[in-house]
Amino acid sequence: MQATTPVNEPLKQQIISQQQGEPMLDVRGIETYYGNIRALAGISLKIFNGEVVTLIGANGAGKTTTLRTISGITPPRRGTITLNGQRIDRVAPEQIVRRGMSHAPEGRRIFSRMSVQENLEMGAFARNDRAAIAEDMERVLTLFPRLRERLQQKGGLLSGGEQQMLAIGRALMSRPKLLLLDEPSMGLSPILIETIFQIVSDINKQGTTILLVEQNALQALSVSHRGYVMQTGQIVLEDTGANLLKSEMVRKAYLGEE
């Protein structure tokens, strides 16, 4: 696979300037349990307006649980989560989406018995501004022309790549300021993966802040401003995307180098 260009200098300047304000998302010391098993052992991370931040880590490290905790599905037992200055760690997921955060979950979770159009409509469930919803529908269908062709088809009949596009498009329909994406490249062909990362980058350039979870460390980090590395429920490394790509640990563990 071709090495991708690392983050360039102007972008680095931008990162530094961005990080001086209040973070958009501020996660401090969250611990999340499944029954008696602790999946997150005190995770802290910050995301600033305009960033793409990637969370990488081995299977079972707790990446999905981190996203689910942030979006309210599995609330933390300890720790705080602040979105735009407001605590959300005790807020229900259906309310969090109304505060400008959207989560495209692992495994796409398309409503398979509903049409593509209905899936997108569900993404806008929290909104009532019909005209603006129609605009966003148009924007999503422009971003993913495949979905326009399949608008009336049942979600369950789409291919894996189309389902992933639908999952991202559906998440965009709430017009989020912060978008959480859990392994958008999972199970896709290399060409499709390329497309998906391009789209992630485009969405970010159109003004949406993104927290990305990926196994595909190389490509994910190369579209990211910063990244965190997770291991067994903890964050073990944090740096810019470019530096993480250079780091020995990341190269060994996630890029298959000796």
Binding site: A92, E94, Q95, V97, R109, S112, G123, F125
Partner: protein
């Protein structure tokens, strides 16, 4: 031939009531994967509630005049029936919501056997309420429709009340289907039936949507209660178990969780019953009905209209 058509019509009348009750089973199963064993009893209470509401409007059993109990001609009758229908639906709907709150919601995350047991318990409680309310014997229901029949041919006739039964049932089914397919809340119900967590991420209040589903299922059971009473003229606290079992069979036959399936299953069970009563023997009818159920479930375990699209691709 005429006999066959007559049985077909009778079957459709009966079947439309089964279909209305079956919808409650199937909608609740679709969203919480639970057989609401109390649903038949909600239907029974709905019928008693409707009888009480008829009483408020001054419609009561009159020993001197068994027929034509409402004064003032056809239209006031119709208006009173419609009002009774709406009030009985609403009150029965509230019972459905209470049943969910009391018996099922506290057990949402419990092992699957627990809500099943509390469903059966709820069924007994509602039956006992019905028994305390009206006693163990059958209760008469007033005759409010013109008693004459319309003769289509010499051998085929339709009663006024049968037309009422079918018109109201079909209207309610069309309204339900439109609601579920077209409205935002209806779509939220379908989404919730597929995936709680993802529905929450969309901004759907899953608990409220489940409550709404129980409410609508019970609304329809309330409507069925009035319709059944006006059609059969007799109600008993045990009717929920009997009609409920047939409606449940209809829901399974059509594919449990599938709304058009419940409608189809209801009509089919009604028609099969009518045909079996006529051509075999009413003593054998339950055997025929359940025999067909077993046959279809063996050949098509997901029912006639079971999910055609994979649950999760």
């Amino acid at each position: 031939m005429e006999l066959f058509v007559q049985q077909l019509l009778d079957g459709i009348v009966k079947g439309s009531i089964y279909a209305l009750i079956a919808l409650g089973y199937t909608m609740v199963y679709g969203i919480v994967e639970l057989i609401n064993f109390a649903h038949g009893d909600i239907f029974m209470l709905g019928s008693f509630i409707a009888l009480a509401v008829l009483g408020w409007f001054g419609v009561a059993i009159n020993p001197q005049n068994q027929a034509g109990l409402v004064q003032g001609g056809f239209f006031p009758t119709l208006i009173i029936i419609v009002l009774t229908l709406l009030i009985a639906m609403l009150l029965t709907g509230i019972i459905g919501v209470l049943v969910e709150r009391i018996a099922y919601r506290p057990l949402r995350n419990a092992p699957r056997l627990a809500p099943l047991i509390s469903a059966i318990g709820m069924s007994f409680i509602l039956q006992n309420i019905g028994q305390i309310w009206h006693g163990p014997a059958a209760v008469s229901y007033p005759e409010v429709f013109p008693t004459g029949t319309i003769h289509v041919t010499s051998g085929i006739s339709v009663a006024w009340k049968d037309i009422f039964v079918v018109v109201v049932c079909v209207m309610l089914m069309v309204i339900l289907q439109t609601f579920v397919q077209r409205t935002k809340l209806g779509k939220a119900m379908r989404a919730t039936a597929q995936d709680y967590d993802t529905s929450k991420l969309m901004g759907i209040n899953v608990n409220m949507t489940i409550t709404l589903t129980f409410f609508i299922g019970a609304l329809l059971a309330g409507a069925a209660g009035l319709i059944y009473g006006l059609s059969i003229h007799s109600m008993q606290f045990t009717i929920g178990a009997q009609a409920g079992l047939k409606a449940f069979t209809a829901a399974v036959l059509g594919g449990i969780g599938n709304i058009p399936g419940a409608m189809l299953g209801g009509f089919l069970i009604g028609i099969v019953e009518a045909m079996s009563d006529q051509y075999i023997s009413s003593a054998w009818t339950p055997v025929v009905v359940f025999g067909i159920l077993i046959l279809i479930l063996t050949l098509r375990p997901s029912g006639l209209l079971g999910q055609q699209v994979p649950e999760r691709a």
